[in-house]
């Protein structure tokens, strides 16, 4: 038998053994759900009860923070709208219904005020020119 054939025969005869067969089977079982006969059924190390509880607590905390931040943002917006509305004269705002209507009325009144102020300025300017001449 030549050297090559001898080598191949030796390789075929020698069957090295996996160092950690049970651990490998357990890892496969963990990822496929196929639990081998010689591995006791139970929670896998990475999915222990403690880790599950910790994950649940983290989830609840994150949800609570989200709800709180949303509530705060809503309250701030509401306060800003209320402040704007409260600056309106009571007599006019009393006729309005709802915050949106209040805001709309406020904007219109503000525009009228600005236009009136502009007219007053122009009148004053004309008066000043007439006085000069």
């Amino acid at each position: 038998m030549d050297r090559y054939r001898q080598f191949i025969e030796d390789m075929r005869r020698t069957q090295p053994q996996m160092p950690h067969p049970k651990e490998v089977s357990a890892r496969i079982a963990e990822r496929t759900g196929a639990m081998p006969q010689d591995i006791p059924a139970g929670p896998a190390p990475l999915r222990s009860g403690r880790i599950r509880i910790a994950a649940a607590i983290t989830g609840i905390a994150a949800a609570a923070v989200l709800v709180l931040s949303l509530s705060t943002a809503l309250i701030q917006t509401d306060t800003a709208v209320r402040t704007e509305i409260s600056s309106l004269p009571v007599s006019t705002s009393a006729f309005m219904r709802g915050p949106q209507a209040h805001l709309e009325h406020y904007r219109k009144t503000k525009a009228h005020r600005q236009s009136l102020a502009g007219l007053k300025d122009r009148t004053a300017n004309l008066q000043m020119h007439e006085n000069l001449h």
């Binding site: 050297r3 020698t14 996996m18 950690h20 490998v24 890892r27 496969i28 196929a34 639990m35």
Partner: protein, 179 residues
């Protein structure tokens, strides 16, 4: 229950049946992975990946192939991908890790013989391409049928034959150089 029936049961979702397949073929798959990669730890990871792929592709398992060819080919293809990803400077220098792994094995005496032979295999197959290594290990060492390997890999007969021929030539030359 025959192995074909076990595979059928596993394909139908029977986890116990799949566990039995893992038990029966894990050593063979590990041997293929070890001889492909030359690293026992990497080979263990490859065994896991092989059985995960097998689990996913069980419904499409072709009964014409033996489970050994089916699993051996999955392992070899996976190892081929790993070998291609390896950086060019990394060579098969796994003797140290192989030695450590065998020291932890149950039978140190048989472990030392196996270690010596595996180290020799790594030396003489160093220059083989991933494809040559695949066909050499599956057919020449594991004695899996040529035709089944061809069908399972999807490679053409010419590709397989030429790669096997080249692999044999390279190993012969390497063995001659040893002495």
């Amino acid at each position: 229950m025959s192995i074909q029936e076990t595979i059928q049961a596993a394909a139908a979702g029977d986890h116990r049946a799949f566990a039995a397949i893992v038990e029966q073929y894990r050593q063979m798959v590990w041997r293929v992975a070890l001889r492909m990669l030359g690293d026992p730890d990497e080979a263990e990871d490859a065994v896991q990946e092989t059985f995960l792929r097998a689990w996913k592709t069980l419904p499409g398992y072709d009964r014409r192939y033996s489970p050994a060819t089916w699993l051996g080919t999955i392992a070899a293809r996976l190892c081929c991908d790993l070998l291609r990803k390896r950086s060019a400077h990394r060579k098969f220098e796994a003797d140290a890790s192989w030695a450590n792994a065998q020291e932890r094995a149950a039978d140190p005496e048989s472990g030392s013989i196996a270690r010596e032979l595996e180290a020799r295999l790594l030396r003489v197959t160093r220059t083989l391409s991933p494809m040559q290594r695949t066909v050499f290990i599956l057919h020449e060492i594991e004695r899996l049928p040529f035709e089944e390997i061809r069908k399972a890999t999807g490679w053409s007969p010419v590709q397989l034959k030429s790669n096997l021929y080249l692999a044999r030539q390279k190993v012969r030359r390497a063995l001659e150089k040893e002495f």
